[in-house]
Symmetry: C2
Subunit: 283 residues, 2 copies
């Protein structure tokens, strides 16, 4: 395994905190320095033992061998160029949920090679350091994007790190990533937020009714608890893909609506049978 | 606890099978006779020990003290009147997901009092006797509808049965039940079916992409595995309520669409914050 490193994690929330635990456990980090602009989160991260110390960004970066960015994608857009300015030898890896705009942002950066674009496909609807989970990422996929634009040593270490924490690697372009992420992640969040609003709107006078809600409802609506500070920027950054998928989803819902309006139960059955094919894909 | 009974369960699938296990375990049934029109299901139910014997409907009903109906709601509409014809002393309880049409169907039946309308708020996306789960229903809600239309002894035994298997009781009219069920159950199934179709439509050339799908996607799409033989009749029976909710849901999705089209990220954040209120309701 690769030599342990001094790793700086920017953003000690759900993703940064969970990574910190895994990196320590797998011996990938000799020292972890956390950076968090939220003082309460910084304190909590120390309390939970997620980091060996917490430092301001400008002090932390020069000490690092590896810098991991686990912050909302809009903050990533703001911070990444400045961090790359300081990164002559460091490896800088982002964990963001959208990739194309960020890739474009640093495409011409003289230190572009030190940066590796990655998206570990794991998360929960919770946020902050208390939300960090031990053993997260195990047996999940991680997407590395535009690997050819990164220096070979940086990509190689990144691959080893993700493999060491139990992830299986996928590689594709940032553009392909964003398109697929719209389908297998971003749209799920929108449907869940919208479903919560649908039900809250209607049932506002009668909270007791939620006693009737069972596991099926909970599972379709749980992503509606997700943090807007993370999700507004994701949908902003992936706006065009998300709009395409959302339009497609609304037209799929309209098919169900039309079946019910016309009492066309044969077609309704066909729509459900079509959807049942998801069994072959999601165990 | 009430005297054990000879209980006939019509439909030995997910619900009937899970009930059989609970009724035996809690000592509520001295004998369980299963009825299932699907010969393979009947055989499987015996193999799994869900029933003491399996009989044709017309032989089973006269022997029963209690008859539980756990079949699709369209079959319920067909069978319930005939079963009530034979039920002078029996208690007949249905477990269906829609209530108003069925209540209307037997409203004038001379044996209406022997029938109790119930909906245990538990299920999974799987079906058939193999899908039966031990300990199902524990700490879930069950709705008893129009209790005033049932004989007092029938309702009392029904309440005791559901309490004995760990459920908490809710009581309301069949009309109220159907309205609320549209919001906290039926719409979740439609969104999930439609989401599966959205993604399957797009990603049909590239199954590999589902490797990217994480727990969030799985949780919003898992209900899309549900059995059309069960769900087409539910949506048929609750057509008007479901259409109202579906229209509301599409208009909530359009708000997200409009935010993205107009790049109104402030309103997008408000929509998400609104949806976050679901935290107060779903733990």
């Amino acid at each position: 395994m690769t030599e342990p490193k001094h790793i700086v994690i920017i953003g000690m929330g759900l993703i940064g905190g969970s990574l910190a635990w895994q990196l320590k456990e797998k011996g990938l980090a000799k020292k972890i320095t956390g950076v968090d602009s939220n003082a309460l989160h910084a304190e909590k991260a120390m309390e939970l033992g997620l980091a060996d110390d917490m430092l301001p960004l400008e002090q932390a970066v020069p000490q690092a061998d590896v810098i991991l960015l686990a912050i909302p994608v809009d903050s990533m857009m703001n911070l990444l160029p400045g961090i790359l300015n300081q990164a002559e030898r460091q490896i800088v890896i982002d964990m963001g949920s959208t990739k194309a705009n960020l890739a474009e942002r640093v495409r011409q950066h003289p230190q572009r090679g030190r940066y590796v674009a990655a998206h570990p496909m794991w998360g929960t609807e919770y946020s902050g350091p208390e939300a960090a989970v031990k053993g997260a990422f195990e047996q999940k996929a991680v997407v590395i994007c535009d690997a050819e634009d990164s220096d070979a040593d940086a990509v190689e270490w990144t691959r080893k790190m993700f493999r060491a924490i139990g992830m299986h690697l996928m590689e594709m372009s940032a553009a392909d990533h964003d398109l697929h992420a719209a389908y297998v992640s971003h749209i799920s969040h929108i449907t869940s937020f919208a479903l919560a609003n649908t039900v809250l709107e209607k049932e506002k006078e009668d909270n007791a009714i939620f006693e009737m809600a069972s596991a099926g409802f909970e599972s379709t609506v749980r992503l509606a608890k997700s943090n807007p500070a993370m999700w507004v920027p994701i949908l902003m950054q992936n706006r065009e893909n998300v709009l395409d998928v959302l339009n497609e989803h609304i037209s799929q819902l309209r098919k169900f609506k039309s079946c019910l309006e016309k009492e066309n139960y044969e077609y309704l059955r066909e729509l459900m049978e079509g959807a049942n094919r998801i069994k072959q894909i999601i165990k």
